[in-house]
Every structure is written in structure tokens, then in C-alpha cells.
Amino acid sequence: MATKHARVDVVTIGAGWTSAILGAKLCPKGTTIVALEQGTHRWTYPDFAHDHDSLRYSVRYAMMVDLARETWTWRPTPGKPSLPMRQYGSFNPGEGLGGAAIHWSAQLWRFLQYDFRHRSHIVERYGASKLPEGSTIQDWPIGYDDLESYYDAFEWDIGASGLAGNVRGTIRPGGNPFEEPRNRGYPNPPLAVNRFADMFGSACKELGLHPFPQPAGITSRAFTDPYGNLRSGCLYCGFCTRFGCEVDAKASPQNTHLPVALETGRYDVRLGCKVLRIETGADGLATGVTYVDGTGQEHFQPADVVVASAFTLENNRLLLLSRSKRHPKGIGNDRGRVGRNYTYQIYPQTVVGLWQGQKLNMYMGNTCTMNIVYDYNADVFDHSDLDFIGGMQLFSEPGEREPVNSVTDLKTKSGKSWGAEWKRELGRNWDSYAGINTEGESIPYEDQFLDLDPNYSDRFGNPLLRLTFSWHDNEKRMWRYMYARSLEIMKAMNPTRLVGPTPGIPDYNIAKYQSTHPTGGCIMGSSPGDSVTNSYGQVWDTPNVFVTGAALFPQNPGANPTGTVAALAYRTSEAIASRYWRSPDELLD
């Protein structure tokens, strides 16, 4: 028999960053929130005080979802069998208080207007025939202007560091000249960059490109945020992505929104609680959620509003698992839209160079101590004569290289990664090579989606989520083009030799880490026929259920998702606070 709890205004599934944002924005106004978190708690002190341990965090994934309990299955195309990702590969979703925002890389972006008007832009500039066959690209229901003030608020709340490229239409030297106009610059100057970033920057300038330092959710100097949280400047320690920050330089819910929410006494986090499904009543609206606590006891938490604020993949799975009489295919799925427009991110290195006898200090820094060019991202460059749409950022490998998971990346001239000759190579050159990295667009296709797996389940017997995904011709052509551009830059950097990958992008495989940017599946749109939610993440067919996070993206631009995830959560919080409670259960305009 499930334990029934007292009703609250809002229940969030997961206690990651979007849940903390809702807490910080709504709880001070009187809203009561229960956040159900499957993982445990962790705080800067003492939990991150002694964590420079590559084996524990990078190799054994101390902060990630425990795959022994549940994982995700994958198949390349609909006709092929799916198998579970048994050990970590392609992506690393986190668990625990603060979610993935503890161990993120903190690369912080605003999307471009092109990203929001993706389909319209391509059709207007190149004609509808330019859209790749089978693609299901669509416009967002909102544009850059709708989000600018929220991007701005988030950047100033978390002490972002960067060099503005476009302030109210004025192009600033050294920043990203291709960014959309921002109302003001960043609260903190850009982070330092490493030696390799300087080499990359000089080469790019030589080629007429526009290098700039990575905007980061990491403070470049001590910073007191508007809530009164005091944070250190970055120590460039070399343990950032997959690690918690021991001095609060890297922004996380723990050093931004979470203390604000908790101080109200109205934000109640319950740890070790796994949500099984969202329950619905006879009217088709959500009544609350059923969850299991750490002892195996089942609970029902009634709430006026349910927010699916877990990771992209879990949000999709939860909606699909929440089947009821009124929603036989799951919440949000009355029209079969949940799981459509699943997208990812092209991420691998294009070329790697080696500078014999030079030390690049690649083990220092963080994942933002680098330079980038946006000259080949989005539609910044003319695609008229090209056989693909979309683009990528190209950037210098940022650093925080760890010996334990990098030594076999360096191979001998004959391609060997063991033996005496390899050992000599390692001794000479472990810190003398670095590559050009990419982060590219991923567009949606008919045959690229999420659904429930027929063969595999979690410890409660609920089916795992199945990913059907592979790179299509458009992405393979884009990769070839970017490989050629990267090679131009690399040659201008005069390496002793190239040690890098091949010109063709390999078939997508789930075995190798690429990025933790699975996006889409519960996308926002302008009508229930083309999407799962409206622009506030409010589910069309169950208006007291909201979705937050990158599951809302109709397709994934060539930029990290967190900035936009947070801006959308700010906008949703504001809409709930100012308008939703006046006419609950109604769709927001």
C-alpha cells in the first residue's frame, strides 16, 4: 500500500538545475515544492574537497546514473535489434542532488536566431529542396528575442565569464562576432586560455577566421551573486568535467539556486526516491506521482502541477510510462509525438597534431580554457554550393587531460598503443599532442526516435527507453567539410606530424563517449499536432504537467544546451508564478 503524502503545489521529478531554478523562483512567492531525487546529496564541502581522483570520477563514473539499476538501449535503425548500453559510452547522465549540473563542462551558450527559425531560415534562403530527405526540422515556437532577458538573467545569476561579441548591435573585438545582440556583456571577464588555444587562435586569425574564448559558467574571479552566494575564481585545477568544483568556481545548483530555494522552507528534497509514473485522474489531468523510496516503500505524492525535470532521456521515458485510461499511450502522447525529433550532437575531434619536443600543459585548465571559431557554425557561412545544411563550432582541445584515460590515445607511427616503442612515444609526447574539436548540429529524422524497449527493463520491471539513432548523409557530408576546414587550421599551426582520426565520421556507435547532449523527444511547438508541449514546456494534452530541459528542443544546434535549458526554465517559472495559478490547468498563451 502506497504511503499517501499531503498535497503540494508542485512536484518535480529530479532535483537538478531546472528544479532548483523553479524552487528559487517560485518558493519565495509561497509555492510549495517537493523534489524527488533518485540519487543522494552532495555539497561543495566536504564532498568535493578531495576529489582529484581520475579513477573514481572519470573511469568509474562516481557521479553518473548507476547502470546496474537501469540504462538505455540503442539500435542504429528501426530494422535492427536493440541492445542495452551496458557500460558508459556515448553519454553520461548524472544523478544526485544538483544532477548533471555538478559535473558539467560549463560551456555556456545562447542559441542563434537561425537555431530557433531553423526550417523557415533554410527554406527562405535556399528553398525547401535543401532540406535533407526524411528530416523533420521545425521552427521553435519562440525566437531569440523571447529568451534574451532570461539568458541575461541566468548569466548574471551564475557569474558567467566571457567576452561579449555583440552588445546591442555593436561588434566587440575579441568576442564572437556571430552571436545575437546581447543587452550587456558578461559579469566576469573570460577565463584564461592555455598555450594550445593561443596556437589555435593565431592560426585562425591568419586564415581570416574569428577566434574567441569560450563563454563559461565558471567564475574567472571571485564573485558574489545577486542572491548573496560568494564564490571563488577558477583554480584551473584540471579536474572539472565529471568532477564537482571544490571552490564553487563552476556554477552548480548547490552554489546558485538551491540555497535560495531551501532557505524558504518550502522546497523539500527527498533523496533516494525513484519516480515510477505520473498519475492521472478521470479528467485526464495529473494528480501527482508514484515513487519508491530507498527502502522499497511505495509513495504517492499528490500535487497540482507535475514537472518532469529529469534528464532528457528519463523525461521521455516517464511520459511514455505514465499510461492511464485517459492517456493510453502515455502523457503527452495522445497524438504519438513523444520520442519524435530525438537529436544528439556531433562531437568528435577532426584532426590531432603533434609538436615533437614541446609541452602543451594539456593536463591543466578546464573544459573552457580554449579558443573557438563560429565561422563554420549554423548558417554563418553560405551553404548554396554545399551538399549539406548546418554547421559546427571548431575549437582547440581545452585541457584537463588525465593520464589514466588518455595514454592509449597516443599511438606510434605504425598505429600501436602498446609495447616498447609506444612507451617511448608516451614518454616523449604524452603532453605534446592536441586536437581540434567540434560541436555540431544534429537534425531530426523520421527514423530517429525514442520509444520503450520490448526486451529490457529496470529493477521495477518497467521497460527501458530505446534510442533509434544514427548519423545520416547530411551529417557525414558536414563532417567531411569540417575535417577539411580543421585541416587548414591545423596546417597553419605547423605540427611535426598529424596523429589524428580519419576524414570520414564513423557510424554512430554507443560505445564511445561523444557528449551528454541527447535532446528532443518532448519537443515544444506551436500546436499539438507538431509537438508535445507549448513554448513553456506545458504538455498540450495534460496542461498541469510541464517538461523542462533539453527534451524540449525541436533539434539540437551546434552549441551546448545548458544556457538555453536554464533560460527556458526561467521563462517557465515566470509564467507559472505570474499567470498559471490565476487559471490553473489552462494552457498558457
Binding site: N194, A222, P403, G419
Partner: protein
């Protein structure tokens, strides 16, 4: 470094203690070998565990096998020697230029296997498991999911064998292959032949394209492959496992039992876990640093100043270039 000085002292103490107990060559080796700074109380236990003078017929001397001198927790003596020999070919070395043997990689692996009844890394171990679809339609049939052989590598790790099973059956398969093909178990083979076997195992890589591996290795791999049939891990799977564990044992922090005296990090010029780097160091390299492991780095504690930490809470802009 103070810790290492203490370690040296401890080892001298152990020498005296052990001198009155097990006085075998192997026993002495324990003192100079793995286990970094063994607590004194463990000394007699450690010595007792060494299966003292039964040297194998193969020309392996105790002085070459630090792993024999530690408290083996998972491997038996022969398995330990085999794993040590294998990893020492992946990362060869000698006393002046340490490799896997001198860095105590096999000791690291033994400890890892003993500490984790199942996998050390998060692993979904529920059935059904996959098999290559030779003659089967791809898809589920009973307890098996058949997948086209060329697609299988795309799915990553899909074995049903735990690391315990994989090492037990893998070492046995390696010996059987070596004995059948070359008349000796693996440890008994000359290093050149050990290298050939390892290269052959690697060349069975199911995602290899023509030309990725030398023809001789591919031919060797064809001969080895039948010895590594389920439930034994595949030849490539076992090679990969040993290669990964060698990387971990040689290059993870010494607190895990390998990377003895930070030799792995010294090899590649890595200064170890440091609390902080400055913007100038990002460009020009480390300035007056001492290589150190986690134990030498005190936990970050609010209000406790540390070398190289530039006023973490005071707002210095000196970290800016």
C-alpha cells in the same frame, strides 16, 4: 616528499621483521615491491601468503615478479604471474625505466578484482545477451538477441562475463592457446612470442578494417580466436580488458595499488594531482612544482590557506592573464 621518506623507513623496518620470519627470496622482494607503504602489522601475513620457493620451471625469477610478493587477494600464483607477464609486454620496463611490472600493475588488478565482486564501473548485467547472427535472423530468439556480426562492435561492451570470470577463463584460454601453438603456457614463452600472441589477440578486433593490423598479426589472430570462444571472453575483449587495466594500474593514483612511486606519471611528465594552476602556468608550464599523489594533497577546506591556491574566496584577479 615526506610520505615517501616515511615509506622508505617502513620498508626498512619490514626488512628487519621479515628477516626473522620467512627468509625466502620472494619474501625479501615484498619489501621492495608493491603495496607501497604496508602497515607494519600486515608484514607477517604478507610474508606468510607468499608461496615461497616453488619457482615455476619457466625462467621467471622472484626479482622480476613484484606481484608474487604481495598479499594476493584474487589471483592464484600462476594467474598473477601470467597477468604480470602480459601487462609487462604492454608496458615493458626495467628498474631504471619502470613498466607495468615495476609499477605493480598486476597487484593493482588483483586488488581491483578483490574489491569488486562484480564490475568496478557501473554495468547493466541483465539478460538477454547478444550473439553474432551467424545463420540467424537478427532479433530475439529465446534468451538470445542475435545481431549482425559487423554491427556488434557498435553496441560496445555486451559480455555476460564478470571480470572475475573473464580473468579466470581468459588466463586459462591464453595458456591453452600458447601451449597448443608453442608448447609452453604464456609465462613460459619468450618475450618475442608473447608479443606475437598479444598482437594476434588485438588483431581479432571485430571493427578492424583491412590494413589496420599487420598481416602477421591477423594470421596469428586467426589461430588464437578458437581458444577464446564463449564463455571465455573474446581474444580482443580480453586484450582490451588487460590494456585498460594496465592503463589504470600504471597511471591511476597510487592509492589504488599501482603506479608505484608515481613511476607512471614520471614516465609521461605528469605532475600529479595539484590543487591549482595559474594562467601563466597554462601557457608556460609548471612553475616550481613537486610531483604528488592524492595523499599529498590536503582536502580543500574553507579558511585553510594552501600553496598554489590564490585566495580562493578573496577575489584576486591574478589568475587573469
Amino acid at each position: 616528499m615526506p610520505d615517501q621518506a616515511r615509506g622508505g623507513f617502513t620498508r626498512r623496518r619490514l626488512l628487519l621483521i621479515a628477516g626473522g620470519g620467512v627468509a625466502s627470496a620472494a619474501g625479501l622482494e615484498a619489501l621492495a615491491g608493491c603495496g607501497e607503504t604496508s602497515p607494519e602489522g600486515e608484514s607477517s601475513l604478507a610474508s606468510a601468503n607468499v608461496e615461497a620457493p616453488q619457482l615455476p620451471s619457466a625462467p621467471v625469477f622472484a626479482s622480476q615478479s613484484p606481484v608474487l610478493c604481495t598479499l594476493l587477494s584474487f589471483f592464484d600464483r600462476h594467474e598473477a604471474l601470467t597477468v604480470e607477464a602480459f601487462t609487462a609486454r604492454l608496458l615493458p620496463g626495467d628498474d631504471a625505466d619502470p613498466g607495468a611490472r615495476e609499477l605493480c600493475v598486476a597487484h593493482y588488478i588483483d586488488r581491483k578484482l578483490a574489491q569488486h565482486a562484480s564490475f568496478a564501473t557501473p554495468t547493466y548485467a541483465q539478460p538477454p545477451f547478444a550473439k553474432p547472427a551467424k545463420g540467424h535472423e537478427p532479433g530475439r530468439d529465446g534468451d538470445t538477441i542475435y545481431v549482425a556480426e559487423k554491427d556488434l562492435p557498435l553496441y560496445g561492451f555486451q559480455s555476460s562475463a564478470t571480470p572475475h570470470d573473464a580473468y579466470r577463463t581468459g588466463v586459462a584460454a591464453l595458456d591453452k592457446a600458447s601451449a597448443t601453438l608453442y608448447g609452453h603456457d604464456f609465462v613460459g614463452l619468450p618475450e618475442k612470442l608473447q608479443d606475437d600472441v598479444i598482437a594476434g589477440m588485438q588483431a581479432t578486433d571485430p571493427s578492424a578494417k583491412p590494413g589496420d593490423y599487420p598481416a602477421a598479426a591477423v594470421a596469428e589472430g586467426k589461430k588464437l580466436k578458437p581458444f577464446f570462444a564463449p564463455p571465455v571472453p573474446s581474444a580482443f575483449g580480453f586484450f582490451t580488458m588487460l590494456q585498460n587495466d594496465t592503463s589504470e594500474g600504471a597511471f591511476a593514483d597510487p592509492v589504488y595499488g599501482g603506479n608505484r612511486l608515481l613511476g607512471g606519471w614520471k614516465l609521461i611528465g605528469y605532475p600529479g594531482a595539484q590543487r591549482a594552476w595559474t594562467a601563466a602556468e597554462l601557457k608556460h608550464g609548471p612553475h616550481e612544482r613537486t610531483i604528488q599523489g592524492l595523499r599529498d594533497m590536503p582536502p580543500m577546506h574553507p579558511g585553510h590557506p594552501q600553496p598554489h591556491v590564490i585566495l580562493p574566496l578573496a577575489g584576486s584577479t591574478r589568475t587573469q592573464s
